[in-house]
Symmetry: none
Subunit: 223 residues, 4 copies
Amino acid sequence: MGKLTGRENKEALPEKVLLLYNAIGEMLSEGIDLTAVKVSEITERAGIGKGTAYDYFDSKEEMVARALLFYMESTMEYLEKGVWEQTTFTERVSTVFKRMSEVAEKNSGALRLILMLFDNNQIGILIKEELKHRKEEKSCEPLLMTKKMIEKGIQDGEIKAELPMEYMMYMMTSRVMTYMMYLLKEENGQCADEEFRHCLCQGIIKELSVEDAFHETVPDKTK
Amino acid sequence: MGKLTGRENKEALPEKVLLLYNAIGEMLSEGIDLTAVKVSEITERAGIGKGTAYDYFDSKEEMVARALLFYMESTMEYLEKGVWEQTTFTERVSTVFKRMSEVAEKNSGALRLILMLFDNNQIGILIKEELKHRKEEKSCEPLLMTKKMIEKGIQDGEIKAELPMEYMMYMMTSRVMTYMMYLLKEENGQCADEEFRHCLCQGIIKELSVEDAFHETVPDKTK
Amino acid sequence: MGKLTGRENKEALPEKVLLLYNAIGEMLSEGIDLTAVKVSEITERAGIGKGTAYDYFDSKEEMVARALLFYMESTMEYLEKGVWEQTTFTERVSTVFKRMSEVAEKNSGALRLILMLFDNNQIGILIKEELKHRKEEKSCEPLLMTKKMIEKGIQDGEIKAELPMEYMMYMMTSRVMTYMMYLLKEENGQCADEEFRHCLCQGIIKELSVEDAFHETVPDKTK
Amino acid sequence: MGKLTGRENKEALPEKVLLLYNAIGEMLSEGIDLTAVKVSEITERAGIGKGTAYDYFDSKEEMVARALLFYMESTMEYLEKGVWEQTTFTERVSTVFKRMSEVAEKNSGALRLILMLFDNNQIGILIKEELKHRKEEKSCEPLLMTKKMIEKGIQDGEIKAELPMEYMMYMMTSRVMTYMMYLLKEENGQCADEEFRHCLCQGIIKELSVEDAFHETVPDKTK
DNA sequence: GATGAATGAGGGTTCATTCAT
DNA sequence: AATGAATGAACCCTCATTCAT
C-alpha cells in the first residue's frame, strides 16, 4: 500500500485516509488544539485502528498536516468555485465573504489553519514545507487566490495598478482573516455580522478601485 | 515565598522570575514554538534551576502564559508611550507601524503572541482567562489601544463616526497584524518594508478620515 | 482493553496483570517496602513494559493495592479450604496456624498486609476503601473468617456464647498475627515454632471452649 | 552544635529538637502517614526553619525515627510509672489497658509506632537499628516491659512458670495491640470499650495465673 | 490489510538537601 | 545559630510508534 505522497488525487485517496482527514477536519472546526491532540483520539474519531494510520503516514504531525492541507484545498476549491462564477471584482469579493459566513464553523477552522501558517509548531512547519514543494510561488494558498482575483481585476480595468501587488494581496487576505476573527470572538459585539462584512468589502473596493469606477454604488450583494 | 498572582508590580517581580520572563520572551522572538518547549530549556536559558521555576508557578503553561502577558504589557507600554506623544491621528498610526518595524525581532514576538490569542492551546487559553479577569472589557489588549486611538480621533474631529466602532477596531488591528505577517515572511517580497508600511497607514487614514480632511496630503512621517 | 475494576474473575485477569500481581506478591513476601517501590522495579520484575502497567491501572498505588487484595484473597482461599475440611473448632484453629507456618515466606506477606490495613499510607487507604465497597461488613477479610469459625463453633456447641463476638474475633485474629510476628522476628528465640503455635492454639481453645468440653485433652494436631 | 546521637538526656535536648519531636508526635497521633510527610510540613508545624532541622539530623528519616523513639520512650515511661505503682500482676495488667484508653488519640500513635517496627520502611528500619544499639536485648521496648511484668509475676508466685517466656510476652503484647486496633477501628462495634478491655485483661490473667489463684474473683479495676 | 496491546523514551513535577545571607 | 530560596536528582506517567496476530 505504501505511504502517501500527499499529492494523490482526491478520488484516489484510500477510504481510511478520508476517514482520518474528516476526523481531523472536524476537530479543527471544533476548535480542538491539533498540536496537542493524541493519535488515539484521531483514530477513534475516525473509527479506525491506531496502527492503520501509520500505514499511510510516517508520524502524527505528517498526518495532521496532510489533513489540514486537504481541508485547505477543499475550502479553497469551494471558495473559488463561487468566486469565478461572478463577473465583477466587487461581486467576487462579496462572494468570498459571504461564503465564509455561510459555514460558520468552517470559518473557525479556516482561520485557525491560516494562523497555523504563521506559527512555528511542528504541524505548521510541515504544511509550509509541503506548500513550498507544490508551487514555485512560496506563498500560501489563500494569498494566491487573492492574487488571482486582483490580477483579474486589474486586467478588467476595475482595479488600479498603482499599489504594490504584495500589499494588495496581504490587505485583502487580512480583511478576510479579520472577518473570521470577528466571527470567532465569543462576545458578540454590537455590530451585526452582515454590517461588519459589508464594511470590510467596501473597504477593499474603496481602496483598490480605480477612482471613476467607485461612486459608492456598490450594491450589497451579500444580503 | 509563595506563588505569583500575575498582578505584581513589575518592579516587585523577583529576579528569578524576570530571568524566566526574559528567557521566554527571547524564545518567542526567535520563533521557537512555546507550546512545545521543555521546562529545562527555559530554565537553562534563564540560568536557574528547574525547581526554582516551580517556586513561582504552578505549571509550565502558567509560567509561559505569565511571561507572555508580561511581554505583551511591555510591548503595549512601549507602543503607547510613542503613540500619545503624537498630536494627530495620522501621526499616531504612523508611529505604531514605525515602532513595530524598529525592533524587527520584537514584531515576530508580538505577532505570534496575538495569534496565540486566537488559538486554543493551553497557553493561549490561560492568557485569555487572565485578560478577562484583569479588565471588564473582554477583548485583548491590542484591540483596546486601537479603540482608544479611534475614540480620540473621533473626538478631535479627524475621524468620521459613521462606521461601527468594532469594525474600525478590528480593521486597524488587522492592518498592524498584516504588517507583522509581512515582516515575518522569510521570502522578502519585491515590495520594500517602508512602502508596504506606508500603504497600510494610508489605507487606514483614507478609510477612516472625514472626507475633507483627506486630500492625499498626509506626509509620510515614517521616512 | 480498558482499566480493571478489581472485581474480575481470577481466571479473567489478563496475563500481564497476573505478572504484575505475582511480582508485587513476591516483593511483599521478600519484605520489600511496597510504599517505596518504583514502578520500574515492579514492571522489570514482572518482565513487562512500564507503560503496560498503566494500561490496567490508573496509578502505582492502585496497582499495588489491587495486587495486595489479590494476594489477600488467594491466601484466604487457601486458608479457608483447609479450615472447613476439619470437623471440630479445635481442629480448625490448628489448621489455620499450621497453614500459616507451612509457607513461611507467605506469613511475612500476610502479616505485613494486615498491618497495612492499620496504617494510613496511600496503599492501605485504597485497600480499605475497596474492601468497604465489596462487603457490607466493614471489617477486613481476616476478621470475617474468624467470625465464621466462631459462629460455627457456637452453633456446634463447642464454644460458649457468653463473650462478646467482637472480642472473640479480635482475640483470635490477634493470636494469628502474633504467630506471624513471632515467625518474622529475625532473632529466633529459645521457644520452638511448634511449641509457640501450640500455646497460641491452646490459649484460644481454653478461653472460648465451653467449660466441660475442655479437659486439656486437645490433641496437638499440628505435629 | 553538631548532630544528635539520639542518646542525649531528654533535658539536654535543644529547644528546636523538642519542637520537631512534638510536631512529629502530633502527626503520628493524627494518623498522618509519616513515611510520606514532607520535611517542610514538619518544620512548618514545628515553627522552625527547614535548614535548622538539618543542623540536628542527617536526613528526614533519621529525624522522624528519632522523634518516634522519643515518643516511644515517653509513652513507655508514662505506662511504667503507673504499672509499678500497682501491687499485683492483675492490677498491673489492668493499669496498662486503662492508660492506653485514657489518651485515646495517643493509642493510635502508639499502635502505629509498634506496627512500624514490623514494617520495612526506611523509618522503621532506622528505629529497629537504633533499638539494637541501645539494648543488648534485641526486642523492642514494649516486649521488654511485658517481660518485666511477667518476671515479676512469676517471682511473686502469681503466674505459673510452665509456659514459654517468649510466648507469654508475645501473647500479652498482642492483646494490648488488639485493644489499640479495636479503638482505632472507625466503625464502633456493639461491644463497649470497657467490656472489650475487661475481656482482654481477663484472658491474660486466666491464661497465665497459677490455677489456685484464679477463681474468677478478679475485680474489674478498670471501672 | 487492519488492529490495538505493548513498549520505553521523554518530560513535567516534587521535594530532600544545601548554603549564602 | 537560623533561615528559606535555590537546586537537580529522581520518579511517575503519557503517548507516539511498533509489530505480532
